[in-house]
Structure formats: structure tokens, C-alpha cells
Symmetry: C4
Subunit: 225 residues, 4 copies
């Protein structure tokens, strides 16, 4: 976010990132699937739990290898960590991995030479998709942390998803809310991260609506009839 734009990455790094885009997209999907299976599968579905665990750890290892390679190729040394802070955060909290998926989705769309969405629509798509993924990840994590807690109001994944909806939109009914320490930490993260994203969606929608009405004004000749 500095005023001077980050230096252009070297060509090798760009090539690496273009080549690993599709495999990492698949790995991201596998990681999320693995975590979801581990959290949502019934406890006695024994083989699935182990498979999911292996999936989660092996994809995370893949992310680690990718991060290390990019750090090396960038030639930035330790400065890579703050400059690419989103990538770093995603490595440490792998449930935020889906955030990178959004970038990949946008890149794929760009490559297909689709008629490009306008500015507001892209901000809305980016922020909305990120908010949905963040909400899904938080639902999984909170359900994981809360389901066995005494006195919990979040007892099923449905409750957890409902709680995430009410939290992201700041409605906050309070019929379902985390009661454990770690559940509340995840919830605070969801509030902090998600509200800004939702704010961006709402702001873009409002700007877009004003743009639509302005354009309509310009199209119509001066009122006569």
C-alpha cells in the first residue's frame, strides 16, 4: 500500500506464477474440501477423516514449497514477506487460502478475453466472492470449535452458516453466537475482515446505481414528449 508501487517482479517469478496458477487452484480446492470433510463428516466415518487430514497437510506443504520458491525467485529476500503480505497471511492461516482463489478466478476470466466487467462490477465480484469464502471458512472453523462446548448456541453446521450470514451483514441477531475463546477470536477476525469487504460491495453497488442513473440521463434528449 506504499505510494511508490512495488517494483515489477522479475520475469522468472512471473513465469512461475503463471505456470503454477492452475495446479495451485486445484490444491486450494482440495485443501478446502479436506478441511470441510474433516469438520463435517460424522465422527465414525473413519477412513474419510484420515484421508482428509492427509489432504489438508499435503496441500499445505505444497503451499509452503510454492511460497519458498517465489520468495527465492523474487530476489527480494526478507522484504518479500511484507511486500506480499496477503500471500504470507494466507500461508500462516491456511483457511484464508480461498482468498488467492479469487485472484485466480479473475486471472482465468481475463485470459478468456471475455467482455470485461466494469470497475464497480469487478470490485463487487472480488469483494463479494472474498466475503463468501471468508464466511464459509469462518463457519467451518467456528462449528469445529463450538460444537462440543458446554452451553454453545452453535450446535450444527446450519447454525454456524446462519451465524456467519448474520455477522457478515452486521445484523447480529444473537440467537447463535460463539461462546468459547477461540470461537470468539475467529468471530472477531470475521467481523474485522468481512465487514470491510461487505462495505466495499455496498459502496460499489451504490456507486454503480448512481452511474446507471447518470448514463440514463445522458441518453435521453432534453425532456419534451
Amino acid at each position: 500500500m506504499s505510494d511508490r508501487p512495488a517494483p515489477d517482479p522479475p520475469a522468472r517469478l512471473t513465469r512461475w506464477e503463471q505456470r503454477t496458477e492452475v495446479p495451485l487452484f486445484a490444491a486450494g480446492l482440495l485443501f478446502l474440501t479436506g478441511y470441510a470433510v474433516r469438520v463435517l463428516a460424522p465422527r465414525d466415518a473413519e477412513p474419510w477423516h484420515d484421508i482428509a487430514l492427509i489432504l489438508v497437510w499435503s496441500t499445505w506443504l505444497l503451499f509452503l514449497v510454492d511460497y519458498a520458491t517465489r520468495l527465492h525467485l523474487s530476489g527480494l529476500g526478507a522484504r518479500f514477506v511484507p511486500v506480499r503480505w496477503l500471500d504470507t497471511l494466507v500461508l500462516l492461516l491456511p483457511l484464508l487460502r480461498p482468498l488467492r482463489m479469487v485472484q485466480v478466478y479473475l486471472a482465468v476470466q481475463r485470459r478468456r478475453d471475455r467482455p470485461r466487467l466494469n470497475l464497480y462490477a469487478r470490485v463487487m465480484a472480488y469483494a463479494g466472492l472474498t466475503a463468501v469464502l471468508l464466511g464459509f471458512a469462518a463457519s467451518l472453523a467456528v462449528y469445529h470449535l463450538e460444537r462440543a462446548a458446554p452451553g454453545a448456541s452453535i450446535r450444527t453446521f446450519g447454525d454456524s452458516a446462519w451465524w456467519a450470514c448474520a455477522t457478515l451483514t452486521t445484523v447480529g441477531y444473537g440467537d447463535a453466537a460463539p461462546v468459547t475463546f477461540w470461537g470468539r477470536v475467529v468471530a472477531a477476525g470475521l467481523m474485522a475482515g468481512g465487514l470491510a469487504l461487505l462495505g466495499a460491495v455496498t459502496g460499489s453497488f451504490s456507486s454503480w446505481l448512481i452511474q446507471v442513473f447518470t448514463r440514463e440521463d445522458e441518453k435521453r434528449p432534453p425532456e419534451r414528449d
Copy 2:
């Protein structure tokens, strides 16, 4: 929302849309009335329930015929579905039909050659009216889905309308909240759709207030007294 504006519709389609405007406005009112009667009438008001059901289905058939005709006249073929995505959504979820009513209302107002509202006022009118209709439709649907659920906190249509107010404004007291799966799905839709609209109203109001104060500055000569 693409950068290139949608191609201008052919003259036949425009003519069709101008002619069907008033009948479809009446049909939209009938549909909403029919659904409201079906949901709100006491269970033993036998003839009314059946009449309302017939009304709902026959008006929906009308919407289907109108949609098919416009798809044919547009000459776009299957591209009609994404280009006119709002019309398509309205056909599939007929309770969102009121959204088209807003367009009709604006068209009627335009035809009467009233002194036009300024930009912010039109955005506020459009978004506010859409939000009210969305809230009313969601109130009906949630009351329909919740009233017989065990442990429901929404037991009367008054509760449901109160819940919709508190949800649309993101206040979310939690004294009334849906407990069934489908009630919560409708609620999530109301949050997602309604908040953006309310955000547009609030944003426009704020911009309009700043405009009013700026204009006042320009009117007054430099302070002397």
C-alpha cells in the same frame, strides 16, 4: 454490467414492452395480492384460498408468456437470459416480481412529464421502493414458512414485518428470527439484497445533504452582514 452497453433492443421489442407495461403492472399487483391473501387469510376462509391460488398461478403464466414473447422478439436467443438477468430472476422467483413494478412506476412518472427528480432523489426513490417491496415479500414468505415451526419466534405477520424492518436496517434485535432452514435461506437473501439497497439509499441521502449545503454556500454572498 458489461462495459459495452447492451445492444439497443429491436423496435418490435420496444413496442411490445410499451404496450404490455400497464397490463403487466396490474398482473404484478394481482400476483402480490394473491400471494398475500393466500398467506394472510385465516385457514377456514375456504373460497379465498382457492381464488388466491388460481390468481397466483394464472398471473405467473402471464409472466411466462410475456418472457417468452420478449425472448423471441429480442432476436438474442439464449443470450437474452444473461443480458436481461433481472427479468429472468423475477420469472424464477415470482415474489421478486415487485422489482419490475418499480421500473414501471418510474416509467409512468417519466411519461407524465413531471419536473424530474434529481439524481440522488431518483436513486433514493428506486432503491427505497425496491427495499420496501423486498421486505414485504420476505415478510410474507418468512411468515408462511415459520408460523407452524416448533419453537418459532415469528408467530404473526406483525412479528414477521417487525423482523424484516430490523433485518433490512441491520439492527437485528433477535427477539424475532427465523428458525427453519428455508426461512433462514429467505432471510439470507433479504440481507444480501436488501442491505445493498439500503446502503444505496443512505449513500444517496448523504450525498444529497452535502449537495444541499454546498448549494447554500454558493447562494450566500461572502459573509458580511
Copy 3:
């Protein structure tokens, strides 16, 4: 809110409004005081209840006379009602009378030739003050309507003020919420009116903060040290 600004009021109307400014300000204060006493005084404080009632009705009569005079002086006839819609609303719902007080306050401040506040500060002052008055009026009305209701969670004026704070800021804890029909109608009005005002305050504050930081950038010479 039309594009063409409302026609300038005739000189007689302007003179009338300038002369009645201070007396009506006093009457507005008396009305609010009278209503507050009627609602907040203990039931057995007999003389005060009657005095407050007389105060409320006589000041309202004053407002009616003022409105009729201005309607006559404006030369607009029935068009006065929509053009001065805020004045009309204030006449019908006299508890919204405080809204005019804000205009008077701004006019008084203007006359004293104080160094004028900048645009954002004036929007914040106007919207913030209106929101506070709206919240106070709604607290009084809701306390009036709810205190005797069975199963009410708003039992004291303190509860009512606390509920108004939580509602205006959209926090909505739900520990206090109206349960009667009319209490909920007032609450819905407070949500609809107050949130837009609060949105204006927040939006102006955000714009002002950005302005402050921009100015600071311009003041400082290009970084050297």
C-alpha cells in the same frame, strides 16, 4: 428535491419567517418540555400533568397558526404542502418539531457571524443534532407506549434511551425492544429516519478525515528531513 430549485419565497414570507424564528424556537422547546413532563413525571404529580397537557396543545395550536400564515403568505396555495414537505410532516407529527429547531440553531449561528464551519462539519452538526433529537423524541414516545405493556422489556426511561442508542447506531442488542404495535411503528420510523442521518454523519466524518490527511500532505514539503 426537484432539479429546478423551488421558486424564491416572496418577501413577506421571508420577513414572517425571520420574525417568528425566536418565538417559535421557544415554543418548540416548550412543546418538547411539555411532552417530556407528561411522559416522565410520576402519575400522582397531578397539577404537572395537566399543565404539561395544556402546554403541549397550546404550542401545537401556535404551530398550526404559523403554518397557516406561511401557507397564505407563500402564495403557493396547495402546492405549499409538498414543496415544504418537512414543515408539513412536522405539523402532523409534532414530536418531530425538534427538526425545525436545528434549522433555527443553524440560522442563529449564522447571524452571529462566527467563523463558519466547513462543509463536512456543518453536515455532521446538522445530521448529528437531528439524530439526537429524533432519538430523544422516539425514546419518549416508546417509553410512553411500552411502559404499561405486558411482557415489555422497556420499563424505565433509561431503558428507552438505551434502546434508542442501540437502534440509531444499528447495534441492536435486543435486551430492550418494543413489543406493542405502536411502539414498533415508532421504532421502524426511528430506524428509517435515523439511520440515514447517522449514515450522513459517518460519511461526512470519513470525508473530513480524508480531507485533513490530504491537506497535511500539501503542507509538508517533499520528504527530505
Copy 4:
């Protein structure tokens, strides 16, 4: 917030403020630490309670001396109080002292000649940091006021911090909420002050996101592929 910028402070005042920056930063930290210890330490940790109390009062005395000196050096006399309203507020409500810390933090960062953050990032950093400090101070104060109240839902500092998160983001679950008069006054202050700050963060984030997407548009050559 007046249109005419405040007159430049005299050189002596500027020198005083530059010299006292670091000691006052340390004093601010000590004050907050002292208050936190006094509130959070168990009741029987006798020596610590007294030490914390002495710390709190002696640092506040320091703030008072600093304020008086600056008032004297400014040559503004009584006009110092409204012109430097933030400093005055901070003196009267010493728990808001952290707000000055933010200015110091920004000044320190400036001195180090770091590559400066852009406008939105600085607004986000300033408002976000202020919101966090405000939330922390309010958590401490509310926990202090509520922990012994009968029927309180805030019983531990964890509850209080959780309540502050839910309040600042306007989620407002209502599972924890102040019940005492002074607790509610602090809560109303947190809502009023904190929401505007959070609004500034959200607004800046939204503007920054739009800027990022706009820049990306400019970088890419006109679509061809």
C-alpha cells in the same frame, strides 16, 4: 474544523511539543498500564493495586502540567481550549489518552523517513488504531463498572472485550451488554465515537480497492491477446 485553518503555533510551542513527544508517549503507556492493572489484577494483589493507583494519578498530573504549559506557550489564552479540543477532551477523560498515542506513532513513523503510506492506508491506520484503543479503553471501563452489578451479563474481561468487538462493528449480538447506568453511558460513547472511526476505515478500504482496480486498468494495454 473551521474553514480558516488554525493559526500556525508559535515556535516555542512547536519545540515543546517535539521535546515532550517521547516522554509523554511513555507516560501514556504507563497510564494505560496502570489503569489496566488496577482493573484486571485480582483484588487481593494488594501492593499492585496501590502502585497502579499512584501511577494513574501521577501520569495524569503530568498530562495536566503539559496541558497548562502548552496553553501558556500557545499565546492563545482561553481560545486554546476549543482550538485544541481533542487535547482538552483527552485531559478530562484520561482513558481517551491513547488517542494522542496514535499521533505520536504517526510522528515517529514520519521521522524515520519510511516510504510513506498512501492516503487511504494512512486514514485506515489512523482510524483503525484509534478504534482499537477506544475499544480497549471501553472494555476496561465497562468491565470495571459491570463486574459487580447484579444481573450483569459481562462478568469477565473476556466478555467485555467480546462485547466491545460486537459493538464497534455494530453486530450487537446482545449475549453480553451493560446493565448499569454508567456502563451504558460508556457504551453509548463507544458507539458514537467508534462507529464513525469504523466507518472511516470501511470507507477508506472501499476507496482503496477501487483505486487498485483502476490502476490495474491503466497498466494493462487495451485488451487484445
